[in-house]
């Protein structure tokens, strides 16, 4: 790994250039398009469960099989949905956002966003080399 102290620091201008670049706009869009709606969805599903448990106890007591009722099953479903969302997020990050982030980090480290080198990356999907 390179010694951090020896690297030239990035200038505010480089950060502004990088922020305005199409690949960063795409990276931010992909991140937010997944994270924001998913957060709204799991919070809504959790609050629905809390509200049902609090204000509709009779509904939640509906037996499904044996002594297992709807409340217990929906509670277990919260566990399942948490595990599933975790998995979905990781695979989204691996496939959709990490490649752009890795690519951009490489370019930033070699100061490709400095003034005058305003070219933008054509190889968005190419997976950047992982760091040591």
């Amino acid at each position: 790994m390179t010694e951090p102290a020896e690297r030239r620091l990035l200038t505010p201008e480089e950060y502004r250039q990088a922020q305005d670049s199409p690949e960063f706009t795409e990276l931010r869009r992909r991140f937010r398009r997944f994270a924001f709606p998913m957060t709204v969805a799991f919070l809504a599903w959790y609050l629905l469960y809390v509200l049902l448990s609090t204000y509709a106890p009779d509904f939640m007591s509906t037996r499904v099989f044996g002594d297992v009722n709807l409340g217990i099953l929906l509670g277990l479903a919260q566990f399942v949905s948490t595990f599933v969302i975790t998995h979905l997020y990781v695979s989204h990050a691996n496939r959709r956002t990490d490649p752009i982030a890795d690519e951009m980090r490489e370019r930033l480290e070699s100061h490709q966003y400095a003034r005058g080198t305003g070219q933008t990356g054509p190889d968005l999907g190419k997976k950047g080399a992982t760091r040591a």
């Binding site: 509200l51 919260q78 566990f79």
Partner: protein, 548 residues
Amino acid sequence: MPETVVLAADATIGSPAVNISIFGAFVLVTLVITFRASRNNKSAADYYAAGRNISGTQNGLAIAGDYLSAASFLGIAGAIAVYGYDGFLYSIGFLVAWLVALLLVAELMRNTARYTMADVLAFRMRQGPVRTAAAISTLAVSLFYLLAQMAGAGGLVTLLLGVTGEAAQALVVVLVGALMIIYVLVGGMRGTTYVQIIKATLLIAGALVMTLWVLTKFGFNLSSLLGDAQSVAVEGRDVLAPGAQYGASSTSKLDFVSLGLALVLGTAGLPHVLMRFYTVPTAKDARRSVVWAIWLIGIFYLFSLVIGYGAGALVGPERILGAPGAVNSAAPLLAFELGGTILLGIIAGVAFATILAVVAGLTITASASFAHDVYASVIKKGQVSPNGEVRVARITAVVIGAISIGLGILALQAGLNIAFLVALAFAVAASANLPTILYTLFWKRFTTQGALWSMYGGLITCLVLIIFSPVVSGAPVNPATGLSPSLFQDVDFHWFPLNNPGLVSIPLSFFLGWLGTVLSKEKPDLDKNAELEVRSLTGIGAEKAVQH
């Protein structure tokens, strides 16, 4: 989440000698490891962030070790054993909360911060005021959490180690405090991390053994386990349906919704949880560690569902409530029922070790926040060597240790409700920290004034609403004990009906953050905003692991 730990003076269960020796073995092993870990501690990054050399998997275990407090283990199992379904609801809030951390906070914070939460919050604001506010709320959250653990330790030893009497319990709190100071002082974040990893492994293994044992007794049939638990439940109580604990009135229902909100939004604002993300080399490792933490914590709570209903069915709520630790004794009693003295000893030792690991994590967070945010950045304006900063952090750890020993003894003797302290810590984290974290990361226009209004507004609202809630005064007297569950007996100055302030304070804090921003004349620092945004999403400029 436990009820008040009842400090009864009658007999313990099992053999205190076995319990103490298993706990002693844990202390010995972790101390040796802590001393070995300390040989690698050279820099500030070592002390605060374990040199950022902890792997994602290790950090996931350490997060689980940090998060699964004695409250999680004994409290949730006990609440399920006695109240059934309502106890289960707690664990769901504690788990789902991790998705907020995973999707919105963990990686972005890892990419932009050095040592503390304030590093991110102050990034594009005026440093002094924002760092001070963040340090105050970090100290508030950590102190409430610490108090709960210290008070819990005293209650636990009555049950598990056979120590009775106020003086002896106070001595135990001193012992726990002294051990925690040694872990933090000697081992720094690396030593603390190892203690948490060992504890998480033991705790989850112990819970797995008990879960399988219970399931074997019921032929791996969930329905017959639930049926048996219902058949011995407290008369007239349906432990399989919601409402046994919170369904009494419209106020208690609203209170539960408030608690649920604080739980799900609190985790991602807990400073000691955030600080764990800085111990890994990259954002990808931060992600990996949250994924591990979610699986471990989720599976653990599924175990506690079986353990809780198992304790209800096999031990019975009457024996649990009659035992010295009341609700908190469900899991130890079940261990004794299943595996006799040895299994009880193991579970007791693990439960006690749990407190040590959690308090060590809290102490290092609070000391880092004071040394890094207040001393180095605000008082010394950055003119301090990293070694000087770490020395202050170590002194702060001793001071915080001493304060929490003192307050812990007071809380223990006042019989302070642990659930209240932990829920308060979550409510403060969700109101004072989370809105500012999210605005800072995702809202370009957010300003210093918005951050200060949101943090101080959230913190003050939380504290004021708690002081004037039934938790502190005026809760109706319980006919069984003749005492009010409030902190103060015989006075009533409460006007806020809910025990948990989250339902009011969290939305208010979000609103204040918005209002403070739109009313401020300050222009947002667009350069800093560009740097924060690019760094948080790409990881450029992130702090690197220390090479030894």
